[in-house]
Symmetry: none
Subunit: 222 residues, 2 copies
DNA sequence: TAAAATTTTAACAAAATGTAAATTCAACGT
DNA sequence: ACGTTGAATTTACATTTTGTTAAAATTTTA
């Protein structure tokens, strides 16, 4: 489900967005109007559609309604590209069944994080739950960790770290991988940094959940 | 509810709009002044009224107020037709209970998409309410905030900001996303701007509702 | 047991946020 | 058109929270 369809009448916008999303590893399809967009949506079944609201002939709302009405396309996530907030298109968009909206002009970072959020929503990755008797819930949208229903505050890095480990319970994450994911590829921080964060996590969520695999890395087991 | 009533003293405008809307499949009624318009509104109960602001004898604002005061017509959507961007008439229009406004000269495409947006909007659809025992009601249409039923005045930005946060209670909104939604991404504002607005909001609606999630953003929790 | 790897501590650095006050800006009434 | 007013934004710090490091202590492994 890494395919994204852009429906926008403005070629520049299509290209800019496409360029950025491709760089992020998505497969990108483009359509320059509603009719073409609907056709491609049916044919390729993308995971997400970025849909311009203001288009000549058939506006985004209408496209959205048509997509929602069709069995083939009704479950595809739709994110509107709206002019700006004064406009009622946002509200109308939600009525029409949009999953989210992003204002134009679009900043790549914002778009990308919204897209991730939307795609996360149905993959279930948003809420990571360990086995039922333990009751650890990680909710990315709320940036919140619940242990036995008790909300626990985690600073950013700790949260990201835990989210990563918990994303595949039982799997070992090498230190390199952790650095890459939580800290980012360019940033150079010392090796100990991970350890310290691990320790803080253990303090907060109990010592047993995170195990160290000497020489390799860490793993999270509920 | 596909009937639209046009109230405008200018025959040409009535005809042009009428022509376009008929083509779109609406049933169109016409009236050349306020008195006639009100009469037809009561008789035919249209789904929407396009109302010229500037008319001799009885201006649109007045017509609007009368329609809003009458049980028979008070729920009819009203969209003002205003000459150029006289912000004054827009504001006055909203005060009088308008649902939207469109500037003249009217572009068919714009008008048509606005109309769709208005008709799609169900009254009350965008009242954001915190949980029932709490008492924060945000009404986007009326640009109004009620706390314990008391109306509280919020300036535009503060209102938009609160509305955004409250739109998904508990979810964290990243600063980037807030900027993009409330300010729009062309405009570059300083780093502290969000904080200051948050602070003002907290002053007005109480310190506890808006929580900051350091490194990420803010969230609203009732 | 020595070597290697990890954990812990505590001190410090860096980043993010909060605040008050000043400034800029734009709408509105006159 | 002009001044008033309130809103929006910036400024300049204060404050708080987070992140990092270096070094010592501890544990593991060979």
């Amino acid at each position: 489900m890494k395919t994204i369809l852009i429906i926008d009448d403005d070629e520049d916008i299509r290209e800019i967005i496409s360029y950025n999303l491709t760089k992020e590893g998505y497969t990108v399809l483009k359509a320059k109007n509603g009719v073409e967009g609907i056709k491609k949506a049916k044919k390729h079944n993308p995971g997400l559609i970025l849909l311009d609201v203001m288009m000549p002939e058939m506006d985004g709302i209408e496209v959205c309604e048509i997509l929602r009405a069709d069995e083939l396309t009704k479950d595809i996530k739709i994110c509107f590209l709206t002019a700006r907030s004064e406009d009622y298109s946002q509200i109308a968009g939600f009525d029409a069944g949009a999953d989210d909206y992003v204002n134009k002009p679009v900043k790549p970072k914002v778009l990308s994080s919204r897209i991730k959020a939307i795609l996360r929503r149905d993959s279930g990755a948003n809420v990571i739950e360990s086995n039922s008797n333990e009751r650890i819930v990680i909710n990315r949208d709320k940036y919140q960790l619940l242990i036995h229903g008790q909300p626990i505050h985690l600073p950013r890095k700790e949260f990201e770290l835990l989210a990563l480990l918990a994303s595949k319970p039982g799997d070992v994450f090498e230190r390199e991988v952790i650095l890459q994911t939580v800290w980012g590829s360019e940033i150079v921080v010392g090796d100990r940094t991970i350890d310290v964060h691990i320790r803080k996590l253990r303090e907060k969520i109990g010592n047993d959940s995170i195990k160290t695999v000497k020489g390799i890395g860490y793993k999270f087991t509920p």
